[in-house]
């Protein structure tokens, strides 16, 4: 496809205009610099002497560099102003809650922790207290802290979700986690796992075979009262509690995480970074949903209550 001479001329004019603009800008820059003779001084100093191989050798002149003053500081300034004004207005019109004087003899029902711990309180309803309140958060925080030491695969940083595939993985994981979480909470409301387990092990609560283990004491006195028959009684958590508070919750966590990893690998051909993103998204979504449910939808006796939020729990 050959250009007509007219088109060629138009292109030429365009190029000339562009060149003129570049020249104008360069001239503006020159004049700007010339306004302060000190600008010709080197704007850097020697800060440290490092080994040659430790130094940073730029492969090319970065082309998009700007001064922090005013470019970044302006953003920070505006951000600070906006949030100062917002906080000012909020504080002027909405009062912090203050209830009656603390009274250790009058326990409110429900008693709730601060809202950012209500996710843990929600977990507490479905598993052992130590597991929900200490082990799960500690392990999760440790895993989060360790992510950078294991996310060593290729790929760039500084881009949201790393890639289009990453974005898809995050969206999928968010929906996956939300679905399972709502399902699990609903399941536990309609079919309380603790009751199910109790029915499954009718002997377990109290005096069942798994409640106490008798260990023979070598050379023990069969007539000695505290250890009748020369046996040492070791009390053990009843089987129903072990299942409902430990084995089932832990299995659910592992199976659902494993299934998520399997699905994103299968569906998106996810790499390691994507798997980390999937798991992290699972954590964030679970954190958000349990916080909201624990804050707004748990009423009297920590039972599920559609309307509890309407009674406005102070934050």
């Amino acid at each position: 496809m050959a250009d007509t001479s007219q088109e060629r001329q138009a292109n030429q004019e365009q190029a000339q205009a562009a060149a003129a603009e570049t020249n104008r800008r360069a001239e503006a820059r020159r004049r700007h610099d010339a306004s302060n003779p000190l600008d010709k001084a080197r704007p850097h100093r020697l800060l440290a002497v490092v080994k040659k191989e430790a130094g940073f050798i730029p492969t090319k002149e970065p082309s998009t560099i700007v001064h922090v003053w005013p470019h970044l500081l302006m953003i920070e300034f505006l951000c600070a102003i906006v949030f100062t004004v917002t906080l000012f207005i909020t504080s002027a019109f909405i009062n912090a809650p203050l209830e009656d004087l603390a009274n250790p003899e009058r326990t409110p029902n429900p008693s709730k922790a601060p809202w950012y711990f209500l996710n843990l309180q929600e977990l507490l309803l479905h598993m052992d207290g130590g597991l929900a309140g200490v082990i799960v958060p500690t392990v999760v925080l440790l895993l989060i802290a360790l992510v950078p030491y294991f996310d060593l695969g290729p790929g760039q940083m500084g881009r949201w979700f790393t890639s289009e595939r990453g974005k898809a993985v995050v969206q999928f994981s968010a929906i996956y986690t939300a679905f399972w979480l709502f399902f699990l909470i609903a399941f536990d409301i309609f079919f309380p796992v603790k009751t199910l387990m109790k029915n499954l092990f009718p002997d377990a609560s109290g005096k069942g075979i798994l409640t106490t283990i008798k260990i023979p004491i070598p050379g023990g006195d069969p007539t000695y009262e505290p250890t009748p028959g020369g046996m040492l009684n070791v009390s053990v958590t009843p089987a129903d509690i072990i299942f409902s508070n430990w084995i089932i919750p832990i299995s659910v966590i592992f199976i659902l995480s494993g299934l998520l990893i399997f699905l994103v690998r299968k569906r998106f051909n996810a790499d390691r970074r994507d798997i980390f993103q999937a798991l992290f998204t699972g954590f964030v979504v679970a954190f958000a949903i349990t916080t909201v449910v624990g804050t707004a939808f748990r009423g009297y006796g920590q039972n599920f209550d559609w309307l509890w939020w309407a009674f406005k729990r102070p934050l």
Partner: protein
């Protein structure tokens, strides 16, 4: 897109001493400022606007904060005439004999003056004539220990450093630098009242 440093080469970037360094700060700003007169004017205007905005926000914050700190200075402690109590009974005129000094108590503002909380304060009250009363603060003018009235000796004694006062509050002996502090007192409809200022005033 070419990177400033290669993040894909993990071996290199993880090896000690081979961490990719920060961007060098001596690179010149490549931002080209539009310095047409309109642009300069706009920049000037926006600069002034930001300064005004920042100033306004600063003032909006500093006013409540500063007022929070200095407001107690302008808060007047209410001065009230309060009826005294003698042995827990309301202090009416007939409870006092002329020339006798008795311990009384009355409600006064607590040390946290802005809180509006009151507490009972003790004082020594002497009926000097049919219509006149003198009320002394219990605190010694030396270091503030509570003084005791000795009816036999007709003296106030301070237990801490041996300060002694006459019945009219003047210093008789010991370290006190001045007479006992006193409260203004009046008789109102047969009730004996003192002016509770929170801070007693000197006698002399």
């Amino acid at each position: 897109m070419k990177q400033d440093y290669d993040t894909t080469n993990e071996k290199e970037s993880l090896a000690p001493g081979h961490h990719p360094g920060p961007l060098p700060t001596d690179v010149r700003d490549t931002h080209v400022w539009d310095d047409t007169p309109e642009a300069i004017n706009r920049r000037k205007f926006l600069t002034q606007l930001s300064i005004a905005l920042g100033g306004l926000t600063g003032v909006a914050l500093v006013v409540p904060v500063a007022a929070f700190i200095v407001a107690p200075l302008f808060k007047e402690t209410p001065i009230l005439w309060r009826q005294v109590k003698v042995n827990g009974q309301p202090g009416t005129l007939d409870k006092f004999k002329v020339g006798e000094t008795v311990e009384v108590s009355f409600e006064d503002s607590s040390p946290v003056a802005w809180a509006g909380v009151t507490a009972l304060t003790a004082a020594w009250m002497r009926r000097t004539s049919e219509t006149e009363f003198t009320t002394f603060a219990v605190n010694c003018s030396h270091l503030g220990c509570p003084v005791t009235w000795l009816p036999g000796a007709q003296l106030f004694m301070c237990p801490c450093h041996g300060g002694v006062y006459y019945a009219d509050g003047r210093v008789a002996a010991g370290p006190p630098p001045q007479a006992l502090f006193h409260y203004e007192t009046r008789v109102n409809n047969g009730n004996v009242e003192v002016k509770a200022t929170g801070v007693p005033i000197p006698t002399e």
